[in-house]
Symmetry: C2
Subunit: 328 residues, 2 copies
């Protein structure tokens, strides 16, 4: 097994643009008893990776070195305290770092058997989006079948997953997107209505449609007040990022009078127990939707691990539809 | 029964100070099938009554005429669709308006048998505070035994009730109050720590104590950011009023990183079904605490119905400790 402990990782010399990205060789430290090593089939590229590269999102203490928060692959090493998995099992995992690699370390609570019916490679696009949507739209936002749900950025990795999961759950789904092609893609994925946020007053149009119950937002800025204005009584606004900033001026009278909830969360900082609870929900609810075709991981583009800077560049251009993957 | 349909009510000629308050005679309209009439023993005076008098808090459509949101008394008339209550039963009720009166109309979902062990008069101080605290701290804020709870204005009607209910539930309780006598009263009621907000940096002191899980706030303004700064991970901030204003500038990054919830509610605008669910919780959980002495209605002062303007004046001086009641 010793030979499997060598890996390439993708890291950055210093905070900066895509030019700071480097591929380096490492000897992996001995995994903990509760950890596994995964021989990576593919690694998902996510927006927090770009922020980490820019120095805006420091990894939590103890995280494995290098970029990358999700992988698919085969179990290559089992910690002494890991049950229910075997060497060679095909899995996906949320990792605390170091996913852009040949070998990645994962806590057992964040490892799930890969769903049937899709390739192991494509399954790399599932963990970050399905965990995020399950944790925020379903657990935190409490979306119920029959309620109305709005997702901003409907063609992103999170967006495509949220549209499909909310539809599979029996919700009515609205989405916003940045051009008419993306708007059409949102509808292809099942959105009941989709709006081009560059030239349509989405808040006014949604208000005319009767408002929404749950919003998943990664925009912030002026979207916060607009989101609050379209929430129905008892509505929930869940933040997972603030691309337009997190400092906002709000009138909380609206929150009290409509009995709204403003909340949010990040995945990476949470404890293994909490991630395990999310993983269980994903396994119980989302994997059946993947296996019956209601939720498909949409893969926009794949890059070789050596070309991680191209993958980051692709993400930054914001022209992708679905996930960007790296292949070791 | 016809003679019982005459009542005095307290209303206002026009929006303004206490001088606009008038006592008037009315013939009550026929109650609906789901309503009862209550021969009022005592009526609670609440801060929303003062705001309504000033024209700042318009009553919901269809509300009975006149001030007053809670009463105790005896059932004097039963609508055709009311079960489980008899003429003469001693009850308390949350009313949609018109509580400062000889006879008050109440929806059956908001009528509860008066708890044993306290006078019917004192029981008038229970509905608004116990319903508000149950709905906001327990149902909406989800306070759990063993968690830490902060109430601002610990000697108000809401404050005294919240301290006692949270202690009876097994929470650790902190309170703020405006002078040292009030601080001592908070501790007498069971608060583990209490802070004089005029000369103590309560947010800093509470942060040093390890923070809190749930806050019930009626202050708003600069308290919002200070409240967010002392909430632990997964903490909940529940607003029921904004004495210092509801327009605030916030950094929602803190909400996302700590996975906080900002929410709030008002009681008056809610549907009979929702009020009924709150009433059931109060009956099941709070009445036993009242009957075993863990939760006592604290009556600051009583006034004759004719002196409603004096009662409003007393509330506005903010010198009361517990509830102000009107006696017809």
């Amino acid at each position: 097994m010793k030979t499997e402990r060598y890996t390439r990782i993708v890291t950055a010399r210093e905070p900066g643009g895509i030019e700071v990205i480097e591929l380096e060789d490492r000897i992996l430290p001995e995994p903990e008893a509760d950890e596994v090593l995964i021989r990576v089939e593919a690694a998902g590229v996510n927006r927090p990776d770009l922020m980490e590269r820019q120095g805006l999102y420091p990894p939590p203490p103890g995280a494995p070195e290098g970029f990358g928060l999700e992988v698919s692959g085969r179990i290559a090493y089992l910690g002494s305290n890991v049950q229910g998995l075997e060497l060679g099992d095909e899995v996906v995992a949320l990792v605390a770092g170091g996913g852009y690699a040949d070998l990645a370390r994962a806590h057992k609570s964040c490892v799930l058997r890969a769903p049937k019916g899709i390739s192991l490679r494509d399954a790399a696009g599932l963990p970050e989006t399905t965990f995020t949507v399950w944790a925020n739209v379903f657990m935190r936002g409490g979306l119920k079948p029959g309620e109305t749900f709005l997702i901003h950025g409907g063609t992103s990795g999170i967006g495509t997953t949220a549209i499909q999961m909310a539809k599979a759950w029996g919700a009515k789904v609205y989405a916003t997107a940045g051009d008419d092609i993306k708007v059409a893609r949102c509808k292809d994925l099942g959105a009941d209505e989709a709006f081009n946020y560059r030239d349509q007053p989405w808040d006014q149009l949604i208000r005319e449609l009767g408002g929404v119950d749950v919003i998943l937002d990664m925009v912030g800025g002026d979207y916060v007040a607009r989101n609050l204005s379209i929430l129905r009584d008892e509505g929930r606004l869940v933040h997972i990022a603030f691309q337009k900033g997190s400092r906002v001026e709000l009138d909380l009278m609206r929150v009290m009078m409509k009995r709204l909830t403003i909340t949010g969360s990040t995945l990476r900082a949470r404890s293994p127990v909490e991630k395990g609870a999310i993983a269980q929900g994903v396994y119980d609810h989302v994997w059946p939707w993947v296996e019956n075709g209601q939720v498909r991981p949409l893969i926009s583009q794949t890059f070789d691990l050596e070309d991680a800077e191209l993958a980051h560049g692709e993400m930054e251009r914001d022209s992708h539809y679905g996930k960007v993957l790296l292949i070791p």
